[in-house]
């Protein structure tokens, strides 16, 4: 999240683009090849945001590439428009709108469905271009005669020509594209997109609208594709119908994977490798059409063995020779801070967020007649359940008593078969987990649901952003540092769950106990007024249990909590009031002492062995 030298990448990119014409010819790149690489690179930036950052693999990007390209080319060749930048802009907007429409359809499903739908839709665009629209697009002939841009500024005029002159124009476009993408990736939206790639369900549970953010990524990708498509026509002086083919989409995917996904620069590198190999294998090696076979084999080997492409492989190589990146150095430097403060007094917990209506004084949570049926199995039956504000409630029950199902209904993860749930007087039945979290009700999971490829700090940032920014906001160019209260919230939560020393560690490298604490931290960072904890002590060592119980006690001040656990001693110590579930029903309720003495509870747990 914190970039010590934020403009470094931009500066290096500018330097690289300026030096390229002086260096690349010696490596055998012709200006035309370099120009094509730039267009593929630009096309790929958007695709990388969609696939590399958000995890959505589309095989249909050609639809937007072609749409943007043909709109711009049509305007410049048939409509009498003379301004190339304006035509490119309109083409980009056209592709963006088409992307929005297609995204709404394709994103109704995830995973392989999404991939299949994008393939199908792109193929449809190819046919539309070729036949029903051929009067406008030239059908199989494409649109010839696309002019080069000319600029007139402060008395200076620049008529873009071919070769390196065109390179100047395309390099400027690429630079703008990469600067914009870097801003997007570093914005709160970018952070949420990478979290969606890791664990979309948790992102939704933390109160972010996953559907709208996915659509955002999809639309961004179509905008880049449309822009790149327009430039293709300008570069070639001709808009080719191949832009719409499945092969175009496939080449984009392969180049991005070869270069390295999730890097923004991967597509550029991949395109360079692809076009270089294409020249080298066809001309120098004399392979002719067989070069694609070689490339296919290389690609399969790459997917099998080098999972993060060339950039990833390069990073791994650096690691082998002992280089560490900044985050690792920071993490190491932070460690000698001293031994963990076992049992030490924690920071005072931050207050829960304020309610919008302060006049409400009834129970914070009320469930009535709550029933959940899975086919023939009755998981919960007619549960009546009321929690007062500020209470710390414990729920116990033998395995299969329906505790987790009950929690899932309370947080709106699953809708009840019948019954209602009210939170602070508002009916939230069937609202969905995202809205429930936005209202101030969230859960920590029994099985860790973390963003394993992000750092601890990034994890907590995702959670805090949900409360600070709301369900969906398009602050694509905002620097997260500028969100008031974000740092305080994250640092404070880090301190509370005692992970400050591990803040910049990747989550997959954490120890189990640390992951457990982060799981609670995630829920806490949304600053809920009602916090549900599903077996927070599960799998912990006795010492960790003691620490976690004291953590739970400290965070319960100023908020309402409901805790499920199997560790009855811990729960009796923690909770003021206990609800016992058995076979999906409420068996008993009372103070810990009452429950300890309750004969029916003993029977439920011990099967009546200790009768009498």
């Amino acid at each position: 999240m914190r970039h010590p030298r934020p403009m470094l990448v931009e500066a290096l990119t500018a330097l690289g683009l300026i030096l390229a014409p002086y260096v690349l010819p010696y490596l055998g790149f012709s200006p035309n090849t370099v120009n094509q690489i730039l267009i593929w690179g630009l096309f790929g930036i958007g695709f990388d945001i969609l696939f590399g950052y958000t995890g959505l693999l589309s095989f249909g990007q050609s639809a937007f590439y072609g749409t943007g390209g043909f709109i711009a080319a049509y305007l410049l060749t048939r409509s009498g428009m003379t301004s190339v930048p304006l035509a490119l802009l309109i083409g980009t907007i056209g592709a963006t709108l088409v992307g929005l429409l297609i995204g709404i359809i394709a994103l109704r499903r995830t995973g392989i469905y999404f991939a299949m739908i994008t393939v199908a839709i792109a193929e449809m665009f190819f046919f539309i271009e070729n036949s029903p629209m051929s009067e406008w697009t030239g059908g199989e002939n494409g649109l010839p005669g696309v002019p080069s841009p000319a600029f007139e500024l402060f008395g200076l005029s620049w008529k873009v020509g071919t070769g390196w002159s065109m390179y100047g124009f395309l390099a400027a476009c690429y630079f703008v594209g990469i600067v914009v993408a870097l801003r997007i990736v570093r914005s709160p939206v970018g952070a949420i997109l990478s979290a969606i790639r890791d664990n979309p369900l948790r992102v939704a549970a933390l109160g972010h609208s996953v559907a709208l953010y996915k659509l955002t990524a999809f639309v961004i990708a179509s905008a880049y594709a449309g822009f790149a498509g327009g430039l293709l026509g300008v570069l070639q002086g001709f808009m080719p119908p191949d832009a719409f083919t499945f092969e175009t989409s496939g080449q984009l995917v392969m180049q991005t994977v070869i270069g390295g996904v999730g890097t923004l620069f991967g597509p550029l590198l991949g395109a360079a490798v692809w076009l270089f190999l294409s020249d080298f294998l066809q001309q120098t090696m004399g392979l002719g059409a067989t070069w694609k076979l070689v490339l296919g084999v290389v690609f399969v080997l790459l997917v099998v063995f080098l999972r993060h492409g060339l950039i990833g492989g390069f990073k791994d190589l650096l690691h082998l020779v002992g280089y560490k990146d900044l985050a690792e150095i920071e993490a190491e430097q932070a460690e000698p801070e001293g031994p963990r403060r076992v049992g030490a007094a924690k920071a005072t917990p931050m207050p829960a967020r304020h309610r919008k209506r302060d006049d409400f004084t009834g129970p914070i949570l009320q469930a009535s007649g709550l029933t959940k049926r899975y086919g023939g199995l009755l998981a919960n039956s007619d549960i009546e359940f009321t929690v007062k504000p500020g209470e710390l409630r414990g729920i116990i029950g033998p395995n299969g008593a329906g505790k987790s199902t009950f929690f899932k209904m309370l947080t709106c993860e699953v809708p009840p078969t019948s019954g209602t749930i009210t939170f602070e007087g508002q009916d939230i039945t069937g609202k969905g987990v995202t809205d429930a979290c936005q209202l101030g009700l969230t859960k920590s999971y029994q099985v860790n649901q973390l963003f394993s490829r992000l750092t601890v700090r990034q994890n907590l940032t995702i959670a805090a952003l949900a409360d600070l920014r709301g369900k969906f906001r398009l602050d694509l160019f905002r620097i997260p540092d500028s969100i008031p209260g974000l740092h305080e919230r994250v640092d404070h939560t880090l301190d509370l769950v005692d992970l400050t020393a591990r803040a910049d560690t990747i989550v997959s490298a954490l120890a189990y106990g640390e992951k457990r604490r982060l799981e609670i931290g995630l829920a806490l960072a949304t600053s809920p007024r009602l916090l549900l904890l599903d077996e927070p002590l599960a799998g912990m060592s006795p010492r960790e249990r003691v620490e976690t119980v004291s953590l739970l006690k400290s965070i319960s001040r100023g908020r309402t909590m409901i805790v499920i656990d199997h560790d009855m001693d811990a729960l009796f110590e923690l909770a003021e009031w206990i609800t016992v579930l058995q076979e999906g029903r409420v068996l008993a309720e009372g103070t810990p002492d009452e429950i300890k003495g309750n004969v029916r509870v003993r029977e439920a747990y011990l099967g009546g062995v200790l009768d009498g």
């Binding site: 995890g55 469905y113 299949m116 046919f127 029903p132």
Partner: protein, 291 residues
């Protein structure tokens, strides 16, 4: 031009195409349902089946042997690919699985192009299938009618395997709940290998049966793959009945629209897919548990 005679003959064409799509899609859908892998090389398997059959036909001159040889070759190819590559991808993300099968598709297409060249090859229909048959109300190419019969037999065989054998029972159970099947102590890896082989064979078989109707070219699998995706999305991923119904529907849409304006045939196909997605996102017969 619209006439009733045209319509009926286009519906027959649609039935031929639909039957083929149904068979190919069944292969794709049982592979996905059982292994959880979307095989982007499925269209290439269809193409390889055609070429393998062509080779056998050139060697022996026997059409039944060509069908048998083509189908068996693709089955062995499928088993080999599963063992060598796909197996290492079961615990990797679905995106990686798609990427590797996409790469394999390119390798297969380019290998065939390398071996046979880009020029299209053709397999003549067998002697009994040449000419036309008088159906009473119209004349129709005999071999095309035979395709419907052959594919129906293949689908029937697939049905028997899926619904009347122990293997099929395990496969169907796996589509419902793979974890459960795994924990029942069934060797899922062997099942996966067999299913991938059968699924590939379905595509390869369709490839050679279709060969006398069209001419063979290395790129022919791509369009089929796309149509198969639409069929599976309409029918519901992982559903055998869905693949059959989806295939028949897609065949009719493609050929009836072609009669009116060929340019719109794909548009109509995708309009149908979009409609299904909007009204019933998991497809006509899609299992509830899958997404």
């Amino acid at each position: 031009m619209f006439t009733w005679g045209n319509l009926v003959s286009q519906m027959f064409n649609g039935l031929v195409l639909g039957a083929l799509l149904a068979l190919i899609s069944s292969g794709l859908t049982i592979i996905y349902g059982t292994l959880g892998v979307l095989n982007l090389a499925h269209g290439a398997m269809f193409m390889v089946g055609g070429y393998a059959g062509y080779l056998v036909f050139e060697g022996t001159g026997s059409f039944p042997l060509a069908i048998l040889g083509g189908a068996l070759f693709v089955m062995i190819l499928g088993v080999a690919i599963e063992r060598l590559i796909i197996r290492h991808f079961y615990d990797r993300p679905p995106e990686d699985q798609m990427l590797v099968t996409f790469g394999l598709a390119i390798c297969l297409v380019e290998l065939v192009r390398f071996l046979f060249g880009s020029l299209s090859k053709s397999v003549p229909p067998p002697a009994w299938g040449q000419g036309v048959t008088q159906l009473g109300f119209m004349l129709y190419p005999t071999y095309r009618l035979a395709v419907v019969g052959i594919v129906a037999l293949a689908l029937g065989a697939l049905y028997v395997v899926l619904y009347r054998t122990r293997l099929g029972m395990i496969v169907r159970a796996g589509i419902e709940d793979a974890v459960m099947v795994d924990s029942l102590g069934i060797n899922v890896f062997r099942i996966f290998m067999v299913v991938f082989g059968i699924g590939a064979m379905a595509a390869g078989f369709a490839g050679i049966v279709n060969a006398p109707v069209v001419s063979l070219s290395p790129d022919m699998g791509e369009a089929i793959l796309v149509q198969t995706f639409v069929v599976v999305v309409i029918g519901g991923v992982g559903s055998f009945p869905g693949a059959i119904l989806g295939g028949l529907i897609a065949g009719q849409i493609l050929s009836i629209t072609s009669m009116i304006n060929p340019g719109y045939s794909y548009v109509m196909l995708f309009a149908a897919m979009t409609l299904v997605l909007l009204v019933r996102p998991r497809g006509l017969f899609g299992p509830r548990s899958r997404d």
